[in-house]
């Protein structure tokens, strides 16, 4: 038996598969492209290991935009991001031979970048993170929402605010996540990386990735709700 309080009858529940990263229809072309690019990538990695500076430059051109975005989202500061990215690529050049291919090359690069960025935050102690609790959903003892009705502001958001303004709210909220949670959100929702690859890059389990991602998304939703004048609960 359901323990839900019945308020109104029925609307069709929203369908799943709304936030996945790729639709099945994309897959044939995607896998062709992936095969080609992984072949090219393998050649570049071999070149890099042999000390080929053109291969290093090609790898820099290929990955620096993504790694810059990741590092900047985590650090929020251009000068810090520059230092992290130059240190990461310098490490890539020096340590290429230590890449054994046990994970994807991109996973290795993300790991170097995240470690460098998180290390920098630890050292600087400039972290702006806030307590999550205030922005998470809250429930009564029997499991119902503490505050009812929950306002559905999803449709009115685009009508009331410019896209850039809403993204600005979210960027501010992202900056308040704990660094590890922010890394998970950036890799998952901004870079579109799989939970498995994120787990490998961050050295945590897939289950821990899912837990962190869900909690961080709940916090971001709560921050956005409050910003729009509603309750986070």
């Amino acid at each position: 038996m359901s323990s839900v309080r019945i308020v109104t009858m029925p609307t069709n529940p929203p369908e799943p598969i709304a936030i996945g990263h790729e639709s099945p229809m994309d897959r044939p072309n995607l896998s062709d492209r992936r095969r080609q690019s992984s072949k090219r990538e393998a050649a570049l990695i071999e070149g890099l290991k042999a000390g080929d500076q053109e291969a290093f430059e090609a790898i820099f051109n290929l990955y620096s935009p993504r790694l810059y975005n990741v590092a900047h989202r985590i650090l929020g500061d251009v000068a810090d991001t520059q230092e992290v990215i130059q240190d990461v690529f310098w490490a890539v050049y020096r340590k290429a031979k230590s890449f054994r291919g046990n994970s994807q090359f991109s996973t290795w690069l993300y790991r170097l970048t995240i470690n460098a960025a998180l290390g920098r935050i630890r050292r600087s102690k400039k972290n702006k993170e806030v307590e999550y609790e205030e922005f998470l959903p809250r429930f009564q003892q029997d499991g119902h929402h503490l505050i009812s009705p929950v306002i559905d502001w999803s449709d009115t958001l685009d009508e009331s605010y410019a896209k850039q303004q809403v993204q600005g709210f979210l960027k501010d909220a992202l900056d308040q996540l704990k660094p590890m949670d922010k890394s998970v959100v950036v890799l998952s929702d901004l870079e579109g990386i799989s939970d498995k690859e994120i787990a490998a890059a961050l050295g945590i389990t897939v289950s821990a990735v899912k837990t962190r991602l869900h909690r961080a998304r709940l916090f971001l939703r709560g921050k956005l709700a409050v910003q729009l004048g509603h309750s986070a609960a």
């Binding site: 359901s2 323990s3 839900v4 309080r5 019945i6 308020v7 109104t8 029925p10 609307t11 069709n12 529940p13 929203p14 799943p16 936030i19 996945g20 000390g51 500076q53 620096s64 935009p65 810059y68 975005n69 900047h72 989202r73 520059q82 990215i85 130059q86 690529f89 310098w90 050049y93 020096r94 340590k95 031979k97 959903p137 429930f139 499991g143 119902h144 929402h145 009705p149 929950v150 306002i151 559905d152 502001w153 999803s154 449709d155 958001l157 809403v166 993204q167 979210l170 960027k171 992202l174 959100v185 929702d189 901004l190 579109g192 899912k210 991602l213 869900h214 998304r217 971001l220 956005l224």
Partner: protein, 94 residues
């Protein structure tokens, strides 16, 4: 929380709190069929959870729409110059 024949824990989707905890798996279509049925049954009866689900989806889609931060040309030049100087000094990587 129930257990499957293999002893794995199967989450419940009967209260708002339980449903909220499963929203991400629901949207990625990762719920076991029985749990998904309970989840959808709950949604049919609970407008609060429908609102919650819609706003959760919306905040994820806004997060995903944030444009990538591009490397400013000056910063890219600084990084390239740094690397050229280091690589030039070191020659081949060891």
């Amino acid at each position: 929380m129930a257990r499957s024949n293999r002893g794995q824990r199967i989450p419940d989707a009967k209260t708002c709190k339980q449903v909220t905890g499963l929203v991400s798996d629901y949207l990625n279509d990762k719920l076991a069929p029985a749990v998904k049925r309970d989840f959808q049954h709950h949604l049919r009866l609970c407008p609060d959870c429908v609102s919650f689900l819609n706003t959760y989806k919306k905040s994820v889609s806004v997060t995903r729409s944030i444009r990538p931060e591009e490397i400013p040309p000056r910063i890219r030049d600084n990084i390239v110059n740094f690397l050229r100087a280091r690589v030039g000094k070191s020659g081949r990587p060891s």
